[in-house]
């Protein structure tokens, strides 16, 4: 559940989600669930000309299983906290 908890701290921040089909979408993180399904608002597709059907879409739900990367806003990652949480989870806490 660590990354689920971590993603919840990013709600309201702007992230770019890159999918396994190379589609990359930037938007404000609206919510995330246990499967790391992601909901974005105010979305825009990075290469809009290549995906014209996405122009009329302003918010979306992305299935966790199709995500390749999530590009995070710089400064939103506190490595120390993540580090500690990782250790604690590894110990079964």
């Amino acid at each position: 559940m660590l990354f689920y908890s971590y993603f919840k701290t990013l709600v309201g921040k702007e992230v770019t989600v890159e999918l396994k089909n190379d589609l990359a979408i930037t938007g404000v993180l609206h919510s995330v669930d246990q499967y790391l399904n992601i909901k974005l608002t105010s979305t825009r597709v990075v290469d809009e000309a290549k995906y014209p059907h996405m122009m009329s879409v302003r918010n979306c739900f992305i299935r966790g299983s199709v995500v390749r990367y999530v590009h995070l806003p710089p400064g939103s990652v506190d490595v120390e906290i993540l580090h500690d949480a990782t250790r604690r989870e590894a110990k079964g806490g």
Binding site: L23, T43, V57, F61, R63
Partner: protein
């Protein structure tokens, strides 16, 4: 008993309540699509197809039931919506689903054409790609990059 995760907003592990099921402070799994029920959605599938329909039901795998579903086929600057009826979509094929802006449902700057016209355009596009492929094959000895 370990302290909860220090990450803000992180959910502490659910505690068994006095009356049976654990008390969750996060929504039950697979309920993220409740807000989308009865909305007109555009669904992108893993094979690249685009389906538009009204979401009537879903489950935790994102299996969906869509009413008045259509497949939107886009070739160049033309598109066509091919009616499919009531559709049940298996969740594993779903890539993403977005709410369509009701005022700009059609892709801006695109021309709506008949199903026959779009199928013909699709065929022409594939033929063109095939010819390009064979031309490329013939000139392979030139070692073009």
């Amino acid at each position: 008993m370990a302290a909860p995760l220090p990450l803000g907003g992180g959910a502490p592990p659910p505690q068994p309540g006095p009356l049976g099921p654990p008390q969750l402070d996060y929504p039950p799994p697979g309920t993220a699509l409740v807000e989308e029920l009865d909305k007109k959605l555009l669904i992108q599938l893993r094979d690249g197809r685009k389906i538009i329909g009204v979401l009537r039901s879903f489950d935790q795998f994102a299996n969906l039931v869509l009413e008045e579903a259509v497949e939107r086929i886009i070739v160049g600057a033309r598109y066509s919506d091919v009616p499919l009826g009531m559709y049940l979509l298996r969740g594993e094929n779903l890539v993403l689903m977005g709410q369509l802006d009701p005022n700009h449902e059609a892709p801006p700057g695109m021309e709506a054409v008949s199903e026959a016209a779009i199928r013909e355009a699709l065929r022409a596009e594939r033929e063109e790609a095939r010819i390009k492929g064979t031309m490329r094959g013939r000139f392979d000895f030139l070692e073009l990059e």
